[in-house]
């Protein structure tokens, strides 16, 4: 297992009047090459959880392990482990701190002692992996970018570290429809190259399209952990935490009620297309 959380709990401002428990008794594992969607209502603790997974925040109780070793018992190896489990923050402007896009993306390679000749090439590759043109962006100040561009630069700054696990905290919010599709495709491409992905999302269509495992969080605890098709069958659970089914599944549910569709619960456009074609007696391509 790459990342393993054992009975993790987290309280903001412990020992004060304002103490707020954000997580309680959370256990989960992330295996190599998985694509996990982390869903849950606002304030359920998703951002807190991913910061703990990335080793940026120390849990107030429980263990965080990377490849079987407790990361907080080996502080000297924390930087290396934070590279292997890369987190893209929920607010991209909080992730950027250098004067130019190039310096920002090159922060890790330069500090990690990558040879000076290799750095520009790595930077270019990372920017291109998120769909930004290196020559036209390298000199820009990160703070003059649009929200969507900032997100991409923030992701590039993490992708350049070549992490084993890439965690994205609502990283497609603020993009237009095309940009979202484009970025989702790029993230899937990284996943194909054996990077495990943990994606926090409120967009169930996106979850249905990409994830092969769904973890549902409610009030700081895991209420479901399993494949998407199972997740979207938990209608009571979903309603209880104000989450909608993916559009495709909602359409399928209506067609089903009309007796037009049977069998499995389709989640993606491709699935419902082939189900409808089959229902009309046509052979899907």
């Amino acid at each position: 297992m790459l990342v393993e959380l054992g009975a993790v709990g987290y309280t903001y401002l412990p020992r004060s009047e304002a103490a707020a428990q954000a997580l309680a008794d959370v256990s989960l594992t992330v295996g190599s090459g998985e694509f996990i969607a982390l869903i849950g209502p606002t304030g359920s603790g998703k951002s807190t959880l991913v910061q703990i997974m990335a080793g940026l925040v120390k849990p107030t109780s429980g263990r965080v392990k990377f490849e079987g070793n407790d990361i907080w018992l080996e502080k000297a190896r924390l930087p290396e482990r934070r590279r292997l489990v890369g987190l893209v923050f929920q607010e991209p402007e909080k992730q950027l701190f250098e004067m130019t896009v190039e310096d920002d993306v090159a922060f890790w390679p330069r500090n990690a002692g990558v040879s000076a000749e290799a750095v520009p090439e790595m930077t270019r590759a990372a920017l291109e992996a998120v769909g930004l043109d290196y020559p036209s962006y390298r000199e820009r100040s990160p703070f003059t970018l649009s929200g969507g561009e900032m997100r991409r630069v923030a992701i590039a700054g993490i992708v350049v570290m070549n992490p084993r696990v890439l965690i994205l905290d609502e990283s497609t919010v603020g993009l237009d429809a095309r940009g979202r599709m484009d970025l989702a495709g790029r993230i899937r491409a990284l996943n194909q190259k054996d990077t495990a992905i943990v994606m926090v999302s409120h967009d169930m269509d996106e979850v249905a399209e990409s994830a092969d495992r769904v973890i549902m969080l409610a009030q700081g605890g895991i209420v479901f952990d399993g494949p998407p098709r199972e997740a979207f069958k938990q209608t009571d659970l979903l309603a209880g935490i104000d989450l909608e089914l993916p559009q495709v599944a909602r359409i399928a549910a209506r067609l089903r009620r009309q007796g037009l569709l049977g069998g499995r619960l389709p989640l993606t456009l491709a699935e419902i297309e082939s189900d409808i074609l089959t229902a009309f007696g046509k052979v899907p391509e």
């Binding site: 940026l56 924390l78 930087p79 250098e98 890790w108 990690a112 700054g157 993490i158 570290m161």
Partner: protein
Amino acid sequence: MNGRSLALGQYYPARSALHTLDPRVKLLLMLALVTAIFFINNLAVMVAAGLLVPVLATVAKVPYSWVIRGLRPLLFILILTFFIHVFFTPGARLAAIGPLTATRAGLRNGAFYSLRLGLVVLFSSFVTLTTTPVQLTDAIESIFGPLKKFRLPVHEVALMMTIALRFIPTLLSEAETIMQAQKARGADFESGHIFKRAKSFVPLLIPLFISAFRRADELALAMEARGYAGGEGRTRLHVLKVRAADVVWLIGGLAVIALVVGVRWAV
């Protein structure tokens, strides 16, 4: 690093005689009291002056623990002061630890000087504990007001102080954010010896300055958008007025301080 641990005599909201006291009177009394401490040359009087701390805390309705907390950032220096005096004052030998000998005079001096330092910090902290930063800068503006006649920008300086105080917590949390962002990309703030750790804070400074300038720009824009135009002809929401109680405090306070100072020559 969380904001609370850095609270050095941070404002404690309560309704007490000290809270409602005119901030100018508080500032003057504090200055007089701190000066008086330096006139004390006798451990017994110093201890007696120390008894003022719980008295003031009670009057101010600030919990003792909150008052003592103001000493935390200084703890190391206090302890160091104490031990340097204990071991490096010549005099009658009390005990020896390795090559170091503690002396009776050293013990006395150590207690005296660390108590003096502690009291100076504690007494000054009563001003910030019971006065909001805004009241404090108002007081400073009022005290230095006459200097406006010499074309000194008193109002502007006071405004700068207010803004600076207001933004300390913001900058701290900003620093924390940038630290997290750099940690997420392999920066190391936690391991290594103290010099290596101190060095890892250097790359933090430039982004912090950049963001401070960005904030300053935004603030200037927001203030202009709301019609702020500087000190000339500006009226105040809270006008500082000296009341009878303030005069009583001022006279009473100065009398106590005179007593403390007078003991030096009386004994």
